[in-house]
């Protein structure tokens, strides 16, 4: 099968790294095809900026035309996922919702570790999907810059923040809500287990790949009742 991955950026420097990471999560026989936004989008644009949305949707449509069997938007806030489901017939998957959904079969309450102080951007997902198992959203004090600078320092912050979430917020499962920490998640889980915090740590992007593979295997796509196609000329203003 073929899984399209939409990077919500136009920065070509990110392409090879994400392609390699996603390919590493795919099972044998799954082809990964990572796509950038059109280069008219400034590289410094934010995935949640409203003018970026149409470009993400454009890539989702292009991925389907390029014979992808499923498509993932590579951002934990799932920009364009709900809207994109109305435009194509293949599964459109967001790593944010995918991770929260998997967490709910692993324990009763999860905490999100998030690298932006404006936690509302991820809380919106929780609000929209009526997820009742959220224990807390905690800010990763290293921020996005810190995550890009040093893996060891980031791992330290992840660990400390996870432990705080477990002790103070009663988290049973941990979700680091950043696509740039995927390669640290396994180590984070090991460190927590070693220090006797027996909680699973769920990574968004790799979980999204597994969900895509499962949906394609099972021949399932989002419901057209929940996500009706474009209404076109069938009406005007309601």
């Amino acid at each position: 099968m073929k899984i399209g991955v939409v990077l919500p950026t136009s920065d070509p420097d990110l392409l090879a790294g994400r392609q390699a990471l996603y390919a590493g999560w795919a099972r044998p026989g799954t082809e990964i095809s990572v796509r950038l936004l059109d280069n008219r989008v400034p590289t410094e644009a934010d995935p949640s900026d409203s003018f970026v949305l149409p470009e993400i949707l454009h890539q989702i449509v292009e991925a389907e035309q390029d014979t992808a069997d499923a498509v993932i938007v590579d951002c934990m806030e799932d920009p364009g996922v709900e809207e994109g489901r109305r435009l194509v017939n293949i599964p459109v998957i967001g790593p944010g919702h995918a991770a929260m959904n998997l967490a709910s079969v692993l324990g009763y309450k999860f905490s999100i570790l998030y690298p932006l102080q404006q936690t509302i951007l991820i809380e919106r997902l929780v609000v929209h999907h009526h997820i009742s198992m959220l224990a807390s959203i905690r800010y990763l004090s290293c921020g996005l810059e810190g995550i890009r600078s040093s893996d060891s320092a980031t791992l330290e912050v992840l660990e400390q923040t996870a432990i705080t979430a477990i002790i103070e917020d009663g988290a049973h499962v941990i979700i680091p809500a950043c696509t740039l920490t995927s390669h640290l998640v396994q180590q984070l889980q090991e460190r927590l287990h070693e220090k006797d915090y027996p909680v699973p740590v769920v990574d968004g992007p790799s979980t999204a790949v597994k969900l895509a593979e499962a949906l394609v295997d099972l021949d399932l796509s989002p419901s057209r009742v929940t996500y009706p196609g474009p209404l076109g000329i069938s009406r005007r203003i309601a």
Copy 2:
């Protein structure tokens, strides 16, 4: 004060009628300024089609630049309202949420009367805003075409559907979720009262005008914690 109204269509034939209706609801001293979408948007496009969203947002931003004190998106599904709040500093108001919000000070449960069979398009608002007082969403069998064709037939359908919602679904308040029935709401309420169904009927667009006037009077705008401004270059992918 000046209230901008964004019509989510590019059809110039609608402009004068909506301007007159909105002006009729405004109190003395309130100026109404109705805006159309760019004429590159086909007139038959649907307000909820994803490619229409950037055009709605563009008009919201333009309304603020044009010195509007508040802006209303003239569609019961509130397209662009949540996204628009991140882009401007004035209140952005959707008649759908405005009507549901007012209904909740009038009674415990409301029903929505909706002219499309795909009720999910309005249910999404209920889901997103975590509104717990919904009794039901009922389809108006005349459809949008019927609403455009005949006021008396539409009023008949509105009345019958409202009565069904009251009896079978336990509605305490009725919301016709169509911007084209505003001028029938007063008559609908009278008819229901005459037949001994003592429920209020709430209209979206006129309620949105009252909410806009109230927010401007009280100097209130949406919270920037809920609706942070564009992140610009402050980050890339999280």
Copy 3:
């Protein structure tokens, strides 16, 4: 239009001040008529004391007979509002519910700042109206005495408590739940914005006036399904 305001006290010293404040919030053409409780009610009685309730209801009925188009009970705990709606045909409005309702179109979660340590008296409103957006109720350490003594000290406490609610409780909107701080709300909002806490501050009494004006403009009254009239001799004990 004419709006009746019931002060839940018999203290005549309060009359002129409240009349002036309410008149200041009304738009041109709105007449405000403030009413005191019967002077058999001791001036030191509390609005929530049960023997005060019939007197509040009596004034609500009198306001309607005095041709008021809507009536407001001037206390953030909304005493008599639910019961009063069963007795008259005009809108009966409580500033507590009005403020919480308006807050929910401005952001996802609000905190209440309250001058009594027995916060249950205001929490009851939240419980009764099934309001799911409450972030917290925080005690204003100056108390009611402090509020009456010094505006500048009160403003300081309001600001500190609001900031704590924003940081620790995740409040997106602030509601000071005291009718005696209305004149400080605008300053509080400015101070918070200056210190980079971009949250709106909602005042109960002025919001109640705007809600009353809107309901009268829209010809809406509470649902008689939710608030049936007195049952009279139609039954005995059920």
Copy 4:
């Protein structure tokens, strides 16, 4: 122990019958003392009419002064129960909440059978106490007049309505919400069991007696955090 029972009526004809019924539910050693409202209250007044409330509260206070260990308000809508808890130090019990509370240890969902078409009067209790296990409220078509006229006809209506609630609404437990059907509840349960509807039927007044006895045995009274005493002169308007 001594249990006071407040009849929310001034009709002396009801006194002996209710006294006998309540005494029949009490265990040996429990004294029942039934109280009427002051005879200034017209006998045809409704327990939920607002001017009746102070008289109910007055009797609750009198019952405590008369050395009652607990007091029950004999009406399924629990008028005065919440307010009364603030005025006395003994348990104040409503048969409506008592029955719903007991139902929730017997099954997952219950239906209420109610003799008034204005079901909001009992739904209010469900709303206020945040009871999530309600399957439905169904109207007893015989009405209050029918209940007073014929036991056999009432039993027939109770049975048919209960069966409808079980089949159509998925009720696991049945609560007839009328104080005048207590003596039929046992027969109703038997009839349902015979017809292979194995659901328990919970009666309000007798359940209230058992709850009163349990609270007195366990030396428990309502929390003063939830129900603070009258505030007296401690404050004015908040």
Copy 5:
């Protein structure tokens, strides 16, 4: 009436003490019959260990055969209660749910004081019964060993933890969730009242006895819709 009490242990040393305690809570005329698990169960087994469950169910069935009118499982986590209700025709009562249920007629929110750090074992009950009034679960730092060693030290820990729950978590009612502290609950309530924390303290086992007596008096058993009997040969795998 006769109430069976299943001790979820095989340790014969506990028998006499529990029999005496339970007999002390029963009203005159109620016979208490305490039962141990089969002595093949090691005395050090935990009530929540999965291999203990069939033995608890076995004792529930035996209690019914021994003519008990109701049966209580003497553990705050209610092991076997839901499963047991499918096997017998008499009420099966767990002190955990019984206490939480009674707490909800005494106030709006309760806190649980629990002697194990793995609070999930009691939280499961809250989760399963959809109890929305939980303020917090707080760990009793003395642990089970401390409770067995010293009443005065335990009382001190109970008091301190209760006060923390009242102040920090907003508890209106306190439930110590340990069957070994029943004899301290009355003193705990007195101490709290003396220090001006006017909250009721609810004990599980004694509340379970009162609930059992009430259900037998009222001739009520769990609903067979919620708790269908064993399916036997009526089906295989669904």
Copy 6:
């Protein structure tokens, strides 16, 4: 990887068929090992009968000792899944919860089609996992016997019941809750799509296999905070 499947029956006739079906869902490289209950369990025992539970748990433990990487209990009611997670260190998966969880990324509301009239047995799962997206549970009138007798007749009933759930209950996704209809799910989905009901149909057992593969790939196991190991001698009665 190796996935253990516990059949909750001792009937050896079922072994080969289930092994073949499960093997068909597994991806290349996944070994399926189906296990029966001990033959002391009567073949006609029901998976939800309480005496069957210890045998299911025994097989879960044996599967782990037999080097399985994950284990599935082959029954839509997930018997033993929650308890089993406390006993082993590998993922324990129930097809019921797995299907409901996957449904929630495909649409907003799902309906369950169930072959037993006692729908509480599957509703329990919904209740326990706090799943808020249930539209309805509908009985499959063919029953289990019908499912075993004729595929074409069963398919007809599935289709009719699904259509009723879509139209009357507003289902967006369909879950047939029977392990014996897995081979019909694909056809059911096609039939519904052909008749213009564009909803996905989710099968439990095949979804459970995909979830097992995903969890093993991602190195995730249930949280030990939610599912602590056996407490052994660490405590007695709490």
